[in-house]
């Protein structure tokens, strides 16, 4: 069990601390409760709050601040040590074509590797701390234990790694001291507080409220995390690569030896092209389904067809991806490709991946999005408007076309925008179905690539977080985030405005 916590929180010290603090807090619960009962003369009617509240007060006071400090420490320590060690790496240790960040990741890996071999008993702690890069082949020693290093270890890197290790262990030591001190202090204070007059319930409820607020703010933290993590790496990217080329260039040709053309335009074109085809499939089918279900269908048809259509929304996107790659793609090749053997006898399409393949399948995926959102919106149009139109002698379809749809139009536009944002951010269908060639072309039977596919391909496999070829993924991610966020905000605004109109 303690092994679990080790890995969970990084380092045995932290794992042990969590167990100790939780144990202390449980002890606090029982001790505080019995102390409060004792001070009330054993009769709970003499207490201000129910006895358990005294216990909870002690338990929360002991655990929450100590664990909070622990978490903050664990988050801050790597950053502090990184920046300290970062400065000590001499310029001479940075090889040609490498960068400080790259050396730093070597240092980290070496330090972790040394910890591993000490832990497994390959080397004792003392000799690990006094290694000499010139006399020991560390790379081979570490490789034997499954830790792969990028290059042979040089003395400055080893020095930095040793510094990293000492600082880490000092950090762990002080963390243990601080956290146990806080927990013990809180434990003693909370026990002293547990007397009959203490307003335990009020304090506990305030504490719980604070925890509830903390949980609610995790949503904000996530957004901040998304924006900051992508922003920092994007800034790094724009230091290495000109932003004019990224936004206005016309070719995408990453080259891992450097000097790449990294322009978003061909990717943006592929993304938009596929999304447009998807919407051309999804909007007519989805909209007509919604109209039929809300205006014509009886309750029986409605209760059968609606959930069935919504199954399409519940199917994971990897399934659609496979469907595109292995079923729709080859079927399209049969129609538009293979020359004489094909259905049309033409040779327009060579591979299964194409804009049309991905677009069609994504369209199928989006049908339920469009239909269920439009369905809600059409249902929100007041019945009086339909009755008025029918009363004047219009047929059902005329009422729908000339009264219901115009009234629902803003909401439907909102629904379509939401579907478009889905299409732009969709990954698995385009990774498997769209292809990997970045180009700006109007032929829907050609393979093209999208923003999301390039994010996947730049961030999987061998990544080097100091090269523009990897960092560009963050700039792409940020663009994608801004694009979808913009669409969502506009769509939600339109839908909300629309709802207010008829409420």
């Amino acid at each position: 069990m303690s092994e679990l916590f080790n890995g969970l929180i990084g380092g045995s010290a932290a794992g042990l601390m969590v167990i100790v603090v939780l144990g202390l807090s449980a002890l606090g619960f029982y001790m505080a409760r019995s102390r409060a009962m004792a001070s009330g003369g054993g009769d709970r009617r003499n207490l201000h709050s129910l006895p358990n509240y005294y216990g909870w007060n002690a338990a929360m006071l002991t655990a929450v601040p100590a664990l909070g400090v622990l978490v903050i420490w664990l988050l801050a320590q790597p950053m502090m040590i990184d920046s300290a060690v970062f400065k000590t790496i001499p310029d001479s240790a940075i090889a040609e074509g490498s960068s400080r960040g790259l050396v730093m990741s070597d240092v980290r890996r070496l330090a972790d590797g040394l910890d591993v071999i000490v832990e497994r008993g390959v080397m004792d702690a003392e000799s690990a701390a006094t290694l000499d890069a010139n006399t020991t082949d560390l790379r081979a020693t570490l490789a034997a234990e499954g830790v792969a290093l990028g290059s042979a270890v040089e003395q400055p890197v080893l020095d930095a790694a040793q510094m990293y290790r000492t600082q880490s262990s000092t950090g762990r030591f002080w963390m243990t001291v601080l956290v146990s001190a806080i927990a013990l202090l809180a434990f003693v204070v909370s026990l002293r507080l547990a007397t009959a007059d203490f307003r335990a319930r009020n304090v506990v409820e305030k504490g719980i409220l604070a925890l509830l607020i903390l949980s609610a703010s995790i949503a904000i933290l996530t957004t901040v995390g998304i924006v900051l993590s992508m922003l920092f790496e994007s800034i790094n990217f724009f230091r290495l690569h000109s932003w004019t080329d990224f936004f206005f260039g016309s070719t995408w040709a990453p080259n891992f030896r450097g000097d790449s053309d990294l322009s978003i335009l061909p990717l943006l074109w592929g993304t938009l092209y596929i999304s447009i085809i998807a919407l051309l499939v999804a909007v007519p089918i989805g909209l007509f389904s919604a109209i039929y279900l809300s205006e014509y269908a009886g309750p029986k048809v409605r209760s059968a067809a609606k959930p069935l259509l919504e199954i399409l929304a519940g199917i994971p996107t990897i399934v659609y991806g496979l469907f595109a790659l292995l079923t729709v793609g080859p079927a399209l090749v049969n129609i538009f490709g293979r020359g004489e053997q094909g259905l049309l006898g033409v040779e327009w399409m060579s591979g299964a991946t194409s804009v049309l393949t991905a677009g069609l399948v994504m369209g199928i995926m989006l049908i339920p999005f469009v239909s269920s959102l439009s369905d809600d919106i059409i249902n929100a149009v007041p019945q009086a408007m339909r009755d008025g139109s029918l009363g004047l002698g219009a047929t059902h379809s005329e009422t729908i076309r000339q009264v219901v749809i115009p009234a629902a139009l803003p909401g439907i536009v909102g629904a379509i925008l939401l579907a478009a944002s889905r299409a732009i951010g969709e990954t698995m269908i385009v990774v498997l179905g769209a292809g990997a060639i970045a180009k700006i072309s109007a032929n829907p039977l050609e393979a093209m690539t999208t923003i999301t596919t390039r994010i996947v391909s730049q961030l999987t496999g061998d990544t080097n977080f100091a090269s523009p070829e990897t960092l560009v993924a963050f700039a792409l991610g940020l663009t994608l985030f801004v694009l979808t966020l913009g669409l969502n905000v506009i769509a939600l605004y339109i839908v909300r405005k629309y709802r207010e109109q008829y409420d």
Partner: protein
């Protein structure tokens, strides 16, 4: 109006006989209705095609071709010293076991009196490349069987399996180095003898992934465990945090701009593309916090952040559905606001919360894109984790990531596995959604 003043009076239809204009309008009506039916029919047709496609191409993965063979475990090849010392027997590598298979094949051919001559190596070539390893594992586990003749069920190679399932034909293997037409003739004879058979393949469901060369041995089991541990993390983190956040927003939050920001934030987070959460996970959990790559723990954390908005939205809806009279009654008998929420409102909202959580989990289970970025693809998840700690921290795959991995491999034999994996994944999703629906039907109260 013009009709009235014109010289020739307009001929109106009667109730019994529609005029041209009415007929036109009625035709338009019928057409419009037909478009609606057509749209729904197309949507449902797509669903049927998709499901049919999955079932027809995936069920093959659950059966596999096996060859039943009696192998003589020759003592002087496997245990020269004859003292059954495991350490010494381990020195015989899998290469040392290959000749036994060839010998077994030759024996079998002699016994059954088959005609047609192919070499012993070619005969053994119809077996999976993993067959010698299977033999070795058995011998090392049962050293006392050395010297006896034991009957084994070996997996046939993926080409033979494909031949049995109609994926491989004599024409398609013209340029194939791993199997020849003569070998297929031999396979035909083995089928006649009942030695080579298609059977249910449990190891597809329970087994581990296998390397590119052995599609016939690849299984989903280890990836399933990876998914299981990820869902564990999601459940443990997303449920309490999501419920706490919803309680605050629904019951305690004052109406001010901070609350507004949080609410707008949550509804926007629900629409952020999943790959962005993958980028967040890579940047924060792996690059910054140095959590291990490919670990289900990291996958679980990323999916937690992704599922939180779903859980919060559904929890808030079910909290809202509890009528205010319940709260008023609790407050009226002297409960504090906190007590009224935790003792009365929350238990009543629990079925709705649970339903929302299960649906959120089902969404997380099928999500692939963020997992690609935190490295849960591109390697062979070969060993099942041996405990909770390694389950969370050792590199593993997940069901959708495993399907993606198979879809990317060049050998079509893996495509069948990918479709089969999809069937397993969909069965899980179906089960979760059914549970959610039952929970809702059974426990949801309407006031």
């Amino acid at each position: 109006m013009t009709d009235m003043t014109s010289d020739t009076p307009h001929v109106h239809g009667t109730l019994l006989q529609a005029d041209a204009r009415t007929r036109k309008r009625n035709a338009a009506e019928t057409r419009f209705k037909f478009y609606g039916i057509l749209a729904i029919a197309v949507g449902l047709l797509m669903l049927v095609i998709l499901l049919f496609n999955i079932v027809s191409r995936g069920t093959g993965a659950f059966t596999q071709t096996f060859v039943t063979l009696d192998v003589a475990l020759v003592e002087d090849k496997l245990d020269k010293s004859g003292n059954r010392n495991i350490e010494e027997m381990k020195k015989v590598s899998t290469f040392g076991y290959a000749p036994l298979l060839k010998a077994a094949m030759t024996d079998m051919v002699e016994k059954t009196g088959m005609e047609g001559q192919i070499s012993a190596a070619d005969m053994a070539g119809i077996l999976s490349k993993g067959a010698p390893a299977q033999l070795r594992d058995y011998v090392l586990a049962n050293p006392d069987k050395v010297g006896q003749q034991v009957s084994f069920n070996f997996l046939a190679s993926s080409r033979v399996d494909g031949y049995m399932k109609g994926r491989v034909s004599r024409e398609s293997i013209a340029n194939d180095k791993s199997i020849s037409a003569e070998q297929l003739d031999f396979v035909d004879k083995l089928i006649e003898q009942g030695i080579l058979k298609k059977k249910f393949n449990l190891s597809f469901i329970t087994g581990a992934d296998a390397s590119d060369a052995r599609p016939e041995a690849a299984g989903m089991g280890v990836a399933m465990l990876g998914s299981f541990f990820m869902m564990l993390v999601v459940l443990v983190l997303a449920l309490p945090i999501g419920v706490a956040a919803s309680i605050y927003l629904e019951e305690f939050a004052p109406k001010n701009w901070i609350t507004d920001i949080i609410e707008v934030n949550i509804s926007n987070l629900a629409a952020v593309p999943s790959i962005v959460f993958g980028i967040l996970g890579l940047a924060v959990f792996i690059n910054y916090m140095h959590l291990p790559t490919s670990a289900p723990l990291v996958g679980g954390l990323v999916l937690t952040l992704m599922t939180l908005p779903t859980i919060i939205i559904s929890t808030r809806a079910s909290l809202k559905a509890v009528p205010p009279s319940i709260r008023d009654a609790a407050l009226g008998v002297g409960a504090s606001k906190m007590q009224s929420v935790f003792h009365h409102v929350l238990p009543l909202a629990a079925p709705g919360i649970l339903t929302g959580t299960i649906i959120g989990l089902a969404q997380a289970l099928g999500e692939t894109a963020p997992l690609l970025l935190i490295g849960m693809v591109g390697f062979i998840a070969s060993n099942p984790p041996d405990g909770i700690a390694s389950g969370l921290l050792a590199p593993n795959s997940a069901m959708p990531a495993q399907i993606y991995e198979w879809a990317k491999r060049a050998d079509p034999a893996f495509y069948e596995r990918a479709w089969g994996g999809i069937i397993i994944l969909l069965v899980f999703l179906l089960a979760m959604n059914t549970i959610a629906v039952i929970l809702r039907r059974r426990f949801e109260r309407r006031w």
